[in-house]
Symmetry: C2
Subunit: 121 residues, 2 copies
């Protein structure tokens, strides 16, 4: 798949919240997944499919998702961007909040090798 | 300025379509500006402030802008993303069209050193 095809598949999976299917179909085994902030304040990198599976499992267990929208994709060469708007309730704290962020993805040999998430400020 | 401050200034300038002010205030002299496609098909890099000024002058002369909206910014570490929706008429061809794209920006020492534009597909 080229970058645009991978990008469109990501949007398709996200709209179904089919996170595990996306991981299996589209991610490279050496995926690097970067969140803006860790508990300590700096960026957090997760490496490898197992690590990303852990992030997905955490999300699915922790959040009640009222809506999850994807805007895009935006594509150029080996990069694409998808903008997300989510409305979720943290199951433990019962706090409901809206989240807005973009994912910036890098594709190599038809697989996602890097993803970085940037929250709206 | 940190990344978030630069990002918010970009959004502020863009909403006023104050392209030259943004260039002077926020861009590094060695800025690299990357468009998704050139006339030949591949990516196009423009280097340096003079080059970016040329792109701005081209845009201002070529387009009648009916609206230009910025969504964001989305910020993490040294990167930020802004999503743009424009409604423009090409003055020469008289063709009116809507454009949607994201800009992915890299900041170093308080200045934008790289910008990449990814059109919506």
């Amino acid at each position: 798949m080229n970058t645009e095809e991978v990008a469109k598949k990501v949007v398709e999976f996200v709209r179904k919240q089919a996170w595990h299917d996306a991981l299996e179909a589209l991610y490279d085994k050496d995926i690097v997944s970067v969140e803006a902030f860790s508990a300590g304040g700096g960026p957090t990198e997760t490496r490898g499919k197992e690590g990303v599976r852990g992030k997905i499992d955490w999300w699915v267990n922790a959040m009640e998702v009222h809506s999850f929208d994807a805007n895009g994709p935006f594509v150029a060469n080996d990069r694409f961007v998808v903008q997300y708007d989510a409305d979720v309730t943290d199951k433990q704290s019962k706090q409901r909040r809206k989240m807005s962020e973009v994912g910036v993805y890098t594709v190599k040999n038809g697989k996602i090798v890097r993803e970085e998430f940037l929250p709206r400020v």
